[in-house]
C-alpha cells in the first residue's frame, strides 16, 4: 500500500495520530528546560511543572518532594496516555503499541530475576519495575531457579515467550547469564519488531526500520563496550548482535573482535551516520557515549514526526517522553544534591 496510506490511514489511525501529535506538543521545550535548570529546590521544579502537562499529576503531592515521586508521577502520566491510546487503537496499531512495551517487559523480567538472585524483597522490586512492562504473573518470577523454569512457569504466558527459544538452558541463574539472557531476549525482540514493521509496510516500515536499526546498532556498541574484558567469547558476543541494522553483517564482524574502546571507535567511524557521534567524544572515553547516542536518537525520533500517516510517531513519542522523564530525573537529582553545575552533563534537549 506504499504511497496510498493517505487514502485510508485516517479511517482508523487518524484520531490517534492527532492525539499523539497533541501529546507531542506537550513535551517540554528548551525554555522549560532553561527554567528548570535554574530551579533551586524540588518545590521550584514542581511549581514549574505545574504549568505544564504534568501539573495535574503533581499538584496533590505533599510538599517535601522526592526525586522518585516526581519521576513516578511523570511516568504515571506517560502510562495513562499510553493506556488511553491502546484502548482506542485498532489492529494493527494496537499490536504495534503492544510491541513498544515488550522492551520494558524484558527489563522488568531481568530486574526481578536479578533482584531475587540477590535476595531482595519481591514487593520492593515490583515497585521499581516500569509500569508499562507489567504483566499478570510478574511476581512469580521470583519462584524460578533457572532459565527453563523461568520459561515454563511464567514467561510462557507472556508475549516474550517466543523470544526465549534461544536461551532455554538448565543453567542456574547468575549475573552473567541474566545479562546474556537480557541481550538475547532484546535481540529477538528487536528482530521481531523489525519484521512486524516490515510487514506493515509503507512509511511505518521505512521510518521504523531506521529507528530500530539505530537501536540495534547502539545495543551492539554497548554490548561490545560492556563485554570488553569479560569472559564472554567473541562468538558469544557475535551472537548477541541483532541481525539487522547498519552494522549488519560486516560491522558486527569487526565489533566482535574489538578489544578496547578505540577499536570500537575505529570500526564505527567507517559508518558515516555514526562518525558524527564518535567525533564528539575524545579518544578512550566511553562516558559521554551514552549522551551522544541519546542526542542522536532524539534527533531521529523528532524527524519521525515530519511525516504523516505512519505508526512510528507512537514509538517516537513514547521514546521522547521517556527521554524527557530521564531528563527530569537528572535535573531533579542534580537540584536535590546541589550539583547544579552538572545538570548539563546528561540532559538531552528534545526541541
Amino acid at each position: 500500500m506504499y504511497g496510498f496510506e493517505a487514502l485510508t490511514f485516517n479511517i482508523h489511525g487518524g484520531y490517534l495520530e492527532a492525539i499523539v501529535r497533541g501529546h507531542r506538543s506537550g513535551l517540554l521545550n528548551a525554555a522549560d528546560y532553561n527554567n528548570l535548570c535554574q530551579c533551586e529546590t524540588l518545590d521550584d521544579i514542581k511549581m514549574h511543572l505545574s504549568a505544564t502537562e504534568y501539573g495535574p499529576y503533581l499538584q496533590n503531592e505533599p510538599s517535601p518532594l522526592h526525586t522518585t515521586t516526581i519521576v513516578e508521577k511523570c511516568t504515571h502520566k506517560l502510562v495513562d496516555e499510553y493506556k488511553h491510546m491502546l484502548c482506542q487503537a485498532t489492529e494493527p496499531l494496537s499490536t504495534f503499541l503492544e510491541y513498544i512495551t515488550y522492551g520494558y517487559m524484558i527489563d522488568n523480567v531481568v530486574l526481578i530475576v536479578t533482584g531475587t538472585l540477590h535476595e531482595r524483597d519481591v514487593q520492593e522490586l515490583l515497585e521499581k519495575c516500569h509500569p508499562l512492562g507489567m504483566f499478570d504473573s510478574i511476581a512469580t518470577l521470583a519462584v524460578a531457579q533457572n532459565m527453563r523454569e523461568l520459561y515454563r512457569l511464567v514467561l510462557v504466558d507472556t508475549p516474550l515467550a517466543p523470544y526465549f527459544s534461544e536461551c532455554i538452558t538448565s543453567e542456574d541463574l547468575d549475573d552473567m547469564n541474566i545479562e546474556i539472557m537480557r541481550n538475547t531476549l532484546y535481540k529477538a525482540y528487536l528482530e521481531d519488531f523489525y519484521n512486524f514493521c516490515q510487514k506493515l509496510g509503507g512509511a511505518t516500515a521505512e521510518i521504523m526500520s531506521d529507528l530500530l536499526a539505530f537501536e540495534a546498532d547502539r545495543r551492539a556498541v554497548n554490548i561490545t563496550i560492556n563485554s570488553i574484558g569479560t569472559e564472554l567469547t567473541r562468538d558469544d558476543r557475535r551472537k548477541l548482535y541483532s541481525n539487522f541494522g547498519l552494522l549488519y553483517p560486516y560491522g558486527h564482524e569487526e565489533l566482535a573482535v574489538c578489544e578496547d574502546i578505540d577499536q570500537v571507535r575505529a570500526a564505527m567511524e567507517k559508518y558515516p551516520p555514526y562518525q558524527s557521534i564518535f567525533a564528539k567524544i575524545s579518544y578512550g572515553e566511553s562516558q559521554m557515549l551514552d549522551k551522544a547516542f541519546y542526542e542522536e536518537e532524539v534527533k531521529r525520533l523528532c524527524l519521525a514526526f515530519e511525516q504523516q500517516f505512519h505508526y512510528a510517531v507512537f514509538f517516537a513519542y513514547m521514546r521522547l517522553r521517556e527521554q524527557e522523564i530521564r531528563n527530569l530525573m537528572w535535573i531533579s537529582e542534580c537540584v536535590a544534591q546541589n550539583q547544579k553545575s552538572r545538570i548539563h552533563d546528561s540532559v538531552v534537549f528534545i526541541f
Binding site: D44, S63, V122, A139, V143, V154
Partner: protein, 818 residues
C-alpha cells in the same frame, strides 16, 4: 451631517474610557492594598515581570504556601467525599482568621486526619485479616470435613495417608500458618488461604505448573466481600485449599502465594478446634468492629467540622493566592521599599480606586501614602463594556466573534433587538414562541436558585442565554401572529377573514379560489390563506421581499456605523473614500430594489421586479413597458447604474494614493529618519516608554489590501443580500415542517376512533414538536441569525481585534474552577 453632530453622545455604543495608571505602594501596605483592589475589581494590572519565571518572583514563597494549602484543602475534599459527608457550608460561623492561622489550622487538621487514617488503616488491616481468617476457617473447614466424610474408595490411599498424618500434627496447628512438617515423606499436607477472585485462575495455573500437577486445588467463593486496603473498594475473594506433598513444593507454593498477594491462614483439621478458633475470631472481630466504628465516628466528626469550613477556607486561599499572584506582577522600585505597578482601569473608577487605596494606607498604619497617577499610554487599552445580566448574553454573542477594538462601535447594542428579531422571522409561530417563553420565564424566575448552583453544560448555556431566549420568544410570538401560525394552525384573532367561498359548500376553495367580500384582515396574514391554492406563492413572495428589506436595512445600518466609527476616530479619509462609495453602491442597487418592493406593495402594481433588476444591467436604455412603476424610472435607473459603476473605482483607488501622499509629505526631506526625542524619553519612566514604532509605508501592500476590501464589498453586496434570503428559507421550512407534523401526525391520528392511536399520535406529535421544532429548529434559526449578524452585519464595520478588560477581582476568582 449637522443632524449627526447634535445627537446625544452614544455612551453605550463605545467601550468605557480607560486610563493607564501607575500605583506606587509602600511594601507594608502592599498586601492590603492589592486585596482591597481585588474586592473592588476594577483594575487590571500588567505583568511587569514577564521575563521572570514563576519561581524567581518576589512572592514565590507565599504562592507556594497557598498552593500547599489548597493541596491540603483538596485532600480534605477527597476525604470528605470518600466518607460521604455532605455538610452544608455555614457562612454564619465565618470568623476572620488570617493566613498564618489558617495555615497552622490546616496543617493541624491534616496531621490529625493523617494520623486517624493511619490508625484506621491499621485497624482495618487487622480487621481484614481476621475477617479473611474467619472466611477461610468456615470454607476450608468445610472442605476438610467434606473430604473426611465423603472419602470415596478411589481416594482412600491419599486420604488415609493424609489423615494418618494429621492426628499427630494437630497439636501445633494453631501456631503455624502452614501445616507443620512431619517426618513422613509421603505425607500430604495443605495450605489454606484466601485470594482475590480475579487472580484465582492464574494462581491455580501457576500452582499446577510449579508443582507439575502434583497438587490438589480446592476453592470456594468467600461469600463476603473484603475491603481492599489500598483502594478502599470491596473485592470478591476466593478461599482455597491446596493439598500437596513435599518440602520443595511447599516452598514454591508459599512463594507463589506471596507473589500473588494471597494470604495464607492455618486451619486446624479437627472440628472442635475449628469451632473454637472460629468463636475466638468472631469475638475479636466484633470487638474490632466496635473500635473501628468508634474510630470512624470520630473521623467523620472531624471531617464534618472541616467540611463546614472548607468552602470558606477554599475561597480565602484562592483570594490570597490571587493577591500574591498579582503582587508578583509588580516591580520593586530602586529603593526596594515600594512596589510599582501599572495597569488599566476605567476612567470612571479612578476616584473609587483612590479611595480604596487611601483606606488601605490608613488600615495598615503606613506612614507613606500610596501614589496613584495617570500615565501616557502608547498601546491600545483593553475594551470594557459595562453589562448587566440582560445585556451580558448579547455582549457574549458579539465577543465570540471578536472583542471590540478600544472605542469601537459595539454591535451588541443593536443585537439586543435585531438578533431576536431575525431569529423570530425564521421561527415565526406563536405557539412555539409561547413554549419558548415559558421555558425562558422558568429560567428567569428561578434565576437566584439556578445562578448559585452548578449546571450541566447544556443547562448552563440555556441559563446564560435566558434573556436572549426571552426576547426570541417574544419576537416569535409577534412574528407568529403576523404569519398567523399557531403550531401551523391559523386563528381568527383579529376579526373575520376578508375572504369567503364562492359557494356555501366551499368544495372548490382549492381550485377556484375565494372571493374578497370585506376589508382586509387587520393584522398579519389572513387565516383563509391557509390551505388555499395561492398560499405558498403569496407567503413566499411576501417573506422573500421582507427578507430583502430587512437585509438591506441591516446592511445599511452596518455601513452607517462605520461612518460613526470613522467620525469618532477622526478619519475623514474613511468617510470620503470608503463610507460614501459603499453607501452609494449598496443603495443604488439594492436600496433601489428595496424601494421598488415598497412601491409595488403600496401601489399593488403587477410589475416583475426580477425583470426590472436584470434589465437595468442588460439594457438600461430599453423600454420598461408594463414593468414601469413610476414616472422617470428609466432615467433614475441609468443614473443609479452610473453611480454604482463610479462608486467602485471611488472606493478602490483614491485611498491608497492619498495615504501615500500623506506619508511622503510627512517625511519629506527627512532622509535620516526621526531622531529619538531624547528629552521626552528621559522624563518618563523607562518601563512605561513603550512607544509604537513607525512602520514603513508599503504602498503595494496597502493597495492590495484596499483592492481586496473593495472587491469583497462589491461581491459581498450581492452575496450578502442573497444571504438574507435564508430568513425566508428557514421560515418556510419551519412552517412546512410544523404543517407536516400537524396534518400528517395529529390529524391523521385523530381520524381514527381508537383512543390508543389518538394518544400515540399525540405523543409522537408532542415529541416531534419538542425535539425537532423547539430544539433543533431553535438551534438552527439561532445559528442563522448568528451568521447574519457576524458576517453580513458586523462585517461591514466591525474590526473585533481588541482585547478584553480583565480586572483583578475576587468575584471572578471565586467563580473560577480549578
Amino acid at each position: 451631517m449637522k443632524l449627526f453632530e447634535d445627537l446625544p453622545p452614544m455612551d453605550h455604543l463605545r467601550s468605557e474610557d480607560m486610563s493607564l495608571v501607575q500605583i506606587i505602594i509602600p511594601v507594608e501596605s502592599a498586601h492590603r492594598a492589592v486585596s482591597y483592589l481585588g474586592e473592588l475589581g476594577l483594575l487590571q494590572l500588567k505583568d511587569l515581570n514577564e521575563e521572570k519565571s514563576p519561581f524567581q518572583r518576589t512572592f514565590v514563597n507565599q504562592v507556594k504556601r497557598c498552593g500547599e494549602m489548597s493541596r491540603k484543602l483538596r485532600f480534605f475534599g477527597d476525604q470528605i467525599s470518600k466518607a460521604g459527608i455532605t455538610a452544608s457550608p455555614c457562612p454564619a460561623s465565618q470568623q476572620v482568621i488570617d493566613l498564618e492561622e489558617l495555615e497552622v489550622r490546616l496543617s493541624e487538621h491534616e496531621a490529625e486526619l493523617l494520623e486517624m487514617n493511619a490508625n484506621n488503616e491499621k485497624l482495618q488491616q487487622t480487621y481484614n485479616e481476621l475477617l479473611e481468617f474467619k472466611l477461610v476457617l468456615l470454607k476450608a473447614g468445610g472442605f476438610l470435613v467434606a473430604a473426611q466424610n465423603h472419602a470415596v474408595p478411589a481416594e482412600t490411599e491419599l486420604v488415609e495417608s493424609k489423615y494418618s498424618k494429621k492426628d499427630d500434627e494437630s497439636l501445633f496447628l494453631l501456631e503455624q500458618s502452614v501445616q507443620p512438617e512431619s517426618s513422613s515423606k509421603a505425607g500430604l499436607r495443605f495450605i489454606s488461604g484466601i485470594i482475590c477472585k480475579s487472580k484465582e485462575l492464574t494462581f491455580e495455573r501457576m500452582l499446577f505448573r510449579a508443582t507439575r500437577g502434583n497438587m490438589f486445588f480446592n476453592q470456594a467463593p468467600a461469600g463476603e466481600q473484603v475491603m481492599d486496603p489500598v483502594s478502599g473498594e470491596m473485592v470478591e475473594k476466593t478461599v482455597f485449599v491446596v493439598f500437596f506433598s513435599g518440602e520443595q513444593a511447599k516452598n514454591k507454593i508459599l512463594k507463589i502465594c506471596q507473589a500473588f498477594g494471597a494470604s495464607c491462614y492455618p486451619v486446624p483439621e479437627e472440628n472442635s478446634k475449628q469451632m473454637q478458633l472460629t468463636r475466638e475470631v468472631s469475638l475479636r472481630l466484633s470487638e474490632l468492629e466496635a473500635t473501628l466504628d468508634a474510630g470512624n465516628r470520630h473521623r467523620n466528626k472531624a471531617l464534618a467540622s472541616i467540611a463546614s469550613q472548607q468552602w470558606n477556607w477554599t475561597i480565602m486561599v484562592k483570594k490570597e493566592k490571587g493577591v500574591y499572584d498579582t503582587l508578583n506582577m509588580l516591580n520593586f522600585d530602586v529603593t526596594k521599599k515600594c512596589l510599582v505597578g501599572e495597569g488599566w482601569c476605567p476612567t470612571f473608577a479612578k476616584p473609587q480606586i483612590k479611595e480604596v487605596l487611601e483606606h488601605a494606607t490608613i488600615h495598615s498604619n503606613s506612614q507613606v501614602g500610596i501614589i496613584f497617577h495617570d500615565m501616557d499610554s502608547f498601546e491600545s487599552p483593553p475594551t470594557y463594556f459595562r453589562t448587566n445580566r440582560f445585556t451580558h448574553a448579547f455582549q457574549e454573542i458579539v465577543d465570540a466573534y471578536g472583542v471590540a477594538r478600544y472605542k469601537e462601535a459595539n454591535p451588541a447594542v443593536y443585537s439586543v433587538i435585531t438578533f431576536p428579531f431575525l431569529f423570530a422571522v425564521m421561527f415565526g409561530d406563536w405557539g412555539h414562541g409561547l413554549c419558548l417563553l415559558l421555558g425562558s420565564l422558568i429560567l428567569i424566575l428561578r434565576e437566584k436558585k439556578l445562578g448559585s448552583q452548578k449546571l450541566g453544560s447544556f443547562m448552563e448555556m440555556a441559563f446564560g442565554g435566558r434573556y436572549v431566549v426571552l426576547l426570541m420568544a417574544l419576537f416569535s410570538i409577534y412574528c407568529g401572529l403576523i404569519y398567523n401560525e399557531f403550531f401551523s394552525v391559523p386563528f381568527h384573532i383579529f376579526g373575520k377573514s376578508a375572504y369567503k367561498c364562492l359557494e356555501s359548500s366551499c368544495s372548490d376553495a382549492h381550485t377556484a379560489g375565494l372571493i374578497k367580500y370585506r376589508d382586509p384582515y387587520p393584522f398579519g396574514v389572513d387565516p383563509r390563506w391557509r390551505g388555499s391554492r395561492s398560499e405558498l406563492p403569496f407567503l413566499n413572495s411576501i417573506k422573500m421581499k421582507m427578507s430583502i428589506l430587512l437585509g438591506v436595512s441591516q446592511m445599511n445600518l452596518g455601513i452607517i456605523l462605520s461612518y460613526f466609527d470613522a467620525k469618532f476616530h477622526g478619519s475623514f479619509l474613511d468617510i470620503r473614500y470608503q463610507f460614501m462609495p459603499q453607501m452609494i453602491f449598496l443603495n443604488s442597487l439594492f436600496g433601489y430594489l428595496a424601494l421598488l418592493i415598497v412601491i409595488k406593495w403600496c401601489t399593488g402594481s403587477q410589475a416583475d421586479l426580477y425583470h426590472v433588476m436584470i434589465y437595468m444591467f442588460l439594457d438600461p436604455t430599453g423600454d420598461l413597458g408594463e414593468n414601469q412603476l413610476f414616472w422617470g424610472q428609466k432615467e433614475l435607473q441609468i443614473l443609479l447604474l452610473l453611480m454604482a459603476i463610479i462608486a467602485v473605482p471611488w472606493m478602490l483607488f483614491p485611498k491608497p494614493f492619498i495615504l501615500r501622499k500623506l506619508h511622503t509629505e510627512r517625511f519629506q526631506g527627512r532622509t535620516y529618519g526621526i531622531l529619538g526625542t531624547s528629552e521626552m524619553d528621559l522624563d518618563q519612566d523607562p518601563d512605561s516608554a513603550r512607544r509604537q514604532h513607525h512602520e514603513d509605508f508599503n504602498f503595494s501592500e496597502v493597495f492590495v489590501h484596499q483592492m481586496i476590501h473593495s472587491i469583497e464589498f462589491v461581491l459581498g453586496a450581492v452575496s450578502n443580500t442573497a444571504s438574507y434570503l435564508r430568513l425566508w428559507a428557514l421560515s418556510l421550512a419551519h412552517s412546512e415542517l410544523s404543517t407536516v407534523f400537524y396534518e400528517k401526525l395529529l390529524l391523521l391520528a385523530w381520524g381514527y376512533d381508537s383512543v390508543i392511536v389518538r394518544i400515540a399520535g399525540l405523543a409522537v406529535f408532542a415529541f416531534a414538536t419538542a425535539f425537532i421544532l423547539l430544539m433543533m429548529e431553535t438551534l438552527s434559526a439561532f445559528l442563522h441569525a448568528l451568521r447574519l449578524h457576524w458576517v453580513e452585519f458586523m462585517g461591514k464595520f466591525y474590526h473585533g481585534d481588541g482585547y478584553k478588560f480583565k480586572p483583578f477581582s475576587f468575584k471572578l476568582l471565586a467563580d473560577e474552577e480549578d
